[in-house]
Amino acid sequence: MEEVIQDKDLESKEYFINMGPQHPSTHGVLRLVLSLDGEIIRKVEPHLGFIHRSIEKMCEHDVYNQIVHLTDRMDYLSCHINNEAVCLCVEQALQLEIPDRIKVIRTIIGELTRLSSHQLWWGVMGMDLGAITSFLYGFRDREMITDIFEETCGARLTMNYNLPGGLMFDIHPNFQKRTKDFIAHFKKKLPEYDTLLSNNVIFRQRTKGIGYLSKEDAISYGVTGPTARASGFSCDVRKHHPYSGYDKVQFKEILDTEGDCYARYKCRIAEMWESMSIIEQLIDNIPEGPHKVPTKAVIKLPKGEWYQKVETARGEFGVYIISEGQKSPYRLKFRSPGFSNLSALDHMARGCKIADLVAIMSTLDLVIPDIDR
């Protein structure tokens, strides 16, 4: 005899699954504990610290020239901009006057770094959503930039090109030509990116209306970078607090109001065009001069505190130095963009499906060493 199925037997229960730490779409070792109702996400709880190296504690024992090298190991895709932040902070404390040549070169390499970071993000985002071709396209174009870096300073990823007071070396004689060749090449290739992903029906359906973040929430959660600008929060440090050569160039701050995954995607694509325009304005106008201002071998900062913010590919990166007049800082804090951006993930993912979470994480563009530090 068949048993009558009671209503209480059909009740669904909330359950938990682990996403990560070994999951390809977390882009590193990040563990998310998902609280699920069927396939719908009720809560996302990040568990951090798998690659926590306590860089801030290490900095308390290091001299300022050494600290610069540690910042490469945080957001390795924006390594040059991270280095620059520490250098600018130290220079600000020493009240060093930096020649224009150094500022312009820093700006150009900073924008190349941003481009290469966005190219990698684009390739990986396509792959997260199931399009393997984009990964190959992204890396093909990124290769040209890393080649330029290699010729300039000998390293492809962790560059260490900045020093407090200038640059390690002057630019290579080929630098301007190769950069211009790259811009000419990439101007032809960037429309391909639109053909492949931006106008793809499947891609649009996976990203449009997914992971909405309002402007008020973006500000409250401290979200910065293209992620926040897609929600209409004007937070570009290059515009609001210009550093290096950004006060000399014309560029638009890319803003959108949609606040969903597709808006964040479009913001980054548009930023690539802006970065190329900044490089084009500067590449033929690098002033003559020294590439380095002499500083003491061991820099001692006066007693006091300084804060320097810069715009990395992920958002606002801050360096906060408290000095007691010693060769090492008394306290050094890195305000990393990924850490604050991650805090909004729970808010954005609630009510979405698990597959949508992958799209949301891709558009947040998380780099885990940057979060764990």
Binding site: G49, Q92, S220, T224, G304, Y307, R331
Partner: protein, 152 residues
């Protein structure tokens, strides 16, 4: 609002506040028990409207603990470094601000993890970066780990 205006705004509410003009930000030090009402007002008052907490960190000084809030107003574009002095180094406690600025939730968990500062009324105050059974608070100046730390 310029620095003078912000200074007056805070001194009206917390008369014992100490203000220093830093190289970039106005630096205001207040006692830790005054933070919650002041922070709420700094955000909600239209003349200040500090809605963007871009950095929250702690500092271990020899005789006290300090929590530093870096604030910015997106409407007026002014900035402020607000510092809270916590008298007790052994058992530091301060009211949470994560109901005012949501970003504080993770930042406060990090400060708790590394400095041992208890944020009262925080919804989920647990270790963030270190394992749950970790002993001590590594960013404190008197922290000692004979195995992992290198002496210079």
């Amino acid at each position: 609002m310029d620095n003078e205006g912000i200074k007056k705004f805070i001194l009206d509410r917390v008369p014992e506040a100490e203000c220093v003009e830093g190289s970039q930000f106005l630096q205001v030090t207040i006692p830790s028990e005054k933070i919650f009402p002041l922070a709420g007002e700094l955000k909600s008052n239209e003349s200040t409207s500090f809605d963007f907490l871009f950095c929250l960190t702690a500092v271990d000084w020899p005789d006290h603990m300090q929590v530093v809030y870096h604030l910015k107003s997106t409407a007026h574009n002014h900035q402020l470094a607000l510092k809270c002095k916590i008298a007790s180094r052994e058992n530091p406690e301060i009211e949470t601000v994560c109901h005012i600025w949501r970003t504080a939730e993770l930042h406060e968990r990090e400060a708790y993890d590394l400095f041992g500062i208890k944020f009262l009324n925080h919804p989920d105050l647990r270790r963030l970066l270190l394992t749950d059974d970790w002993e001590g608070y590594p960013m404190r100046k008197d922290y000692d780990d004979p195995i992992n730390m290198i002496e210079y």
